[in-house]
């Protein structure tokens, strides 16, 4: 574990260095914009994958926390009374509390019913944002920009500084999620995903474990929302609409659920695709749809999962005597097929 931590930290630093070097090598503002977008949506997708890939909870309502983070942060900053780090902490804590309340109800339900109730809560929060016009500005969102007063000598009003800040926060969040992913807690969640009955026989408090990861995922999603609010200098009800959740799910699937960084790869691919498809055609729905079909029906799993499987298969072929790394080499399989409800 200890060695793994050092390796993760090294890789994290390398990743951060890359994120920081890229815009320096290609000093073009639109590259920075693009990467911030990947960071925000990548973080959203990563946080959702804690539920989907790790725990087997398919949430259709994850954007609710993305929006909550963005709105709490935006409102606090517009009030002008708090600094950026304080507003961020408050937004994270507020969202965690909301996720705790909603999660306490949701995690008791199974499979498709869990999906539906998360969807219902998301619609509920979206309609609150829309109707509470005095506070949220309704469909027009938080108007007039979100002020970014300097703190500790850091001025997020500078696009370059904002980018560095987002990159650092992103890598920190990834490291944190990585620790969860590798911790005993993470392996308990995998057991719950694969066989909840067994987990509960072994004395695992399934509901409490699920609730824990639900709150963590919600909090991480709100961090993504804060980054997005900082970037667009506003918060909008569309952040909490089901399409945003849908897109996050799509990113996960595009990248893969079982490789830790799969969702980020998915977010990157989707943004790249989106970027170019919207430039060259106004029928991006058609192009995107066909592509989804190709991936789902062709690869039958996310791109990163596919590559990982392919590589581990090649390794196995190269070492015909098998068992090169013990139990850890088992190819990642998608969560057990859901049993059909007749």
């Amino acid at each position: 574990m200890r060695q793994g931590l050092i390796r993760d930290l090294t890789l994290g630093l390398l990743g951060l260095a890359l994120l920081l070097v890229l815009p320096a090598v290609f000093p073009h503002p639109s590259l920075r914009d693009f990467l911030i977008y990947v960071i925000a949506y990548g973080l959203l997708a990563m946080s959702l994958n804690l539920l989907v890939g790790l725990t087997g909870l398919v949430s259709f309502g994850h954007a609710a926390y993305f929006a909550t983070g963005a709105y709490i942060f935006g409102l606090l900053m517009q009030s002008g009374s708090v600094s950026i780090p304080l507003a961020m902490l408050a937004a994270l804590a507020g969202t965690a509390l909301l996720a705790l309340v909603i999660g306490a109800i949701c995690v008791r339900l199974k499979e498709i019913y869990f999906s539906f109730i998360t969807l219902a809560f998301q619609m509920f929060i979206h309609s609150i944002i829309l109707t509470w016009v005095d506070l949220t500005g309704g469909d027009q969102g938080l108007r007039g920009g979100i002020p970014r007063p300097p703190f500790l000598g850091i001025d997020l009003g500078q696009p370059g500084t904002l980018y560095i800040f987002c990159a650092v926060v992103f890598v920190l969040c990834l490291l944190l999620m990585r620790q969860v992913w590798q911790s005993p807690f993470g392996y308990t969640l995998r057991m719950i995903r694969d066989n909840p009955t067994r987990a509960s026989f072994l004395g695992v408090n399934v509901v409490r474990m699920k609730l824990g990861v639900f709150v963590l995922a919600g909090t991480m999603a709100s961090m993504a929302g804060i980054i997005m609010a900082l970037f667009v200098s506003g918060a909008f009800p569309e952040f909490g609409f089901w399409t945003t959740s849908g897109e996050a799910i799509f990113m996960i699937m595009l990248g893969g659920t079982q490789v830790f960084l799969g969702p980020v790869i998915g977010a990157f691919l989707l943004q790249l695709l989106n970027h170019y498809v919207t430039i060259y055609t106004h029928h991006h729905g058609l192009v995107l749809g066909i592509l989804i079909l190709a991936i789902v029906l062709g690869l039958r799993r996310g791109v990163a999962d596919y590559v990982a499987d392919w590589i581990s298969e090649r390794r196995r072929a190269a070492a015909p005597l098998g068992r090169e790394e013990g139990a850890e080499t088992a190819p990642p399989t998608p969560p057990a097929a859901r049993k059909m409800v007749g």
């Binding site: 339900l109 219902a120 509920f124 007749g342």
Partner: protein
């Protein structure tokens, strides 16, 4: 909140008749869409998130047929059967490939279908608003009943929806084919072992579900605007109906659809600002207290 007015309305024949009929009108179209959704889930065990697409296709097919032939009956037939055929194609070539895989794969295939069909409709028919127009024979004054008013077209619509609902129920519960379909829902391997072509049946059931959505779209085409993406709001409402009624239960869908319809109709009188919230609250409550819905089979 205006409960006095609500009480007043319920005790006045004219108001009660109009609002009950309103509830049925809103509810029955919803029932057609939701029953298709429920049927597909009940037999195939998949959630057809693309169900709204078939509602849209039904409406556009009916629109085109009516423009070309001027016959409302043909338009209804074309809308329903066109959507049904599209459903069979979708099931055979796409959906059937992700059976037994996880929910997300099914969701993505449906998401792709929505994106593609919405764009195709925009390319073929344009982005502007379309309306089929009321057939001559229905362009009459609303029927007066105990002081309340019901438009002739809506009476026809209600009769159609009820008729189809009854036929569906009888077909599933009283015929040999219905018996096979029910068996298919419970034990597909056994049905297959008896020499019955289950793949054909799956496609047929999926097509039937889509046909129902298409029929709803065709029935709505004279009074609701046709635009690309029109299936979305109907999809969400029919999901609520399906969840409340119980996934897989057609009588459940009927009860829930009428319940939602009446909630809307009388809610508009008594608590207009709270109607949408109430629908979500109702769905949440059902999910918490009885996840399988009012008439759904118990979740295993």
């Amino acid at each position: 909140m205006n409960l006095d007015v609500l009480a007043g309305c319920m005790t006045t024949a004219a108001c009660a008749v109009t609002q009950v009929s309103t509830g049925l009108i809103v509810g029955m179209l919803l029932f057609l869409v939701a029953s298709g959704l429920s049927l597909i889930f009940g037999v195939l065990g998949v959630v057809n998130f693309a169900h709204g697409v078939f509602y849209m296709l039904g409406a556009y097919f009916a629109f085109v047929t009516y423009e070309q032939t001027g016959s409302f009956l043909l338009a209804l037939l074309a809308g329903a059967s066109g959507a049904g055929l599209a459903g069979i194609v979708f099931e055979r070539f796409f959906m059937s490939r992700v059976y037994g895989q996880d929910l997300l794969m099914q969701l993505l295939v449906c998401y792709a279908a929505i994106l593609i069909c919405d764009d195709l409709v925009k390319i073929i028919f344009g982005a502007d608003y379309k309306l089929m127009g009321m057939p001559e024979s229905f362009a009459t004054a609303p029927v007066e009943l105990a002081g309340g008013f019901i438009p002739g077209y809506y009476i026809f619509m209600l009769a159609m929806a009820l008729g189809v609902g009854a036929a569906l129920w009888l077909g599933i519960n009283r015929t040999r084919l219905g018996k096979i379909i029910r068996a298919l829902a419970i034990n597909p391997q056994m049905v297959g072992a008896l020499g019955i072509n289950t793949r054909l049946l799956y496609a047929g059931v999926f097509g039937l579900g889509c046909l129902l959505a298409g029929l709803a779209g065709a029935l709505a085409a004279p009074v609701r605007t046709l635009t690309p993406g029109m299936g979305l709001s109907v999809l969400i409402e029919s999901f609520i109906v399906t969840v409340i009624g119980g996934m897989g239960s057609i009588p459940g869908a009927l009860i829930a659809a009428i319940l939602i319809g009446l909630t809307r109709a009388f809610g508009a009188i008594g608590f207009p600002l709270f109607v949408d919230g109430l629908m979500f609250a109702l769905m949440g409550l059902v999910l918490i207290l009885r996840p399988s819905g009012l008439l759904g089979a118990k979740v295993s």
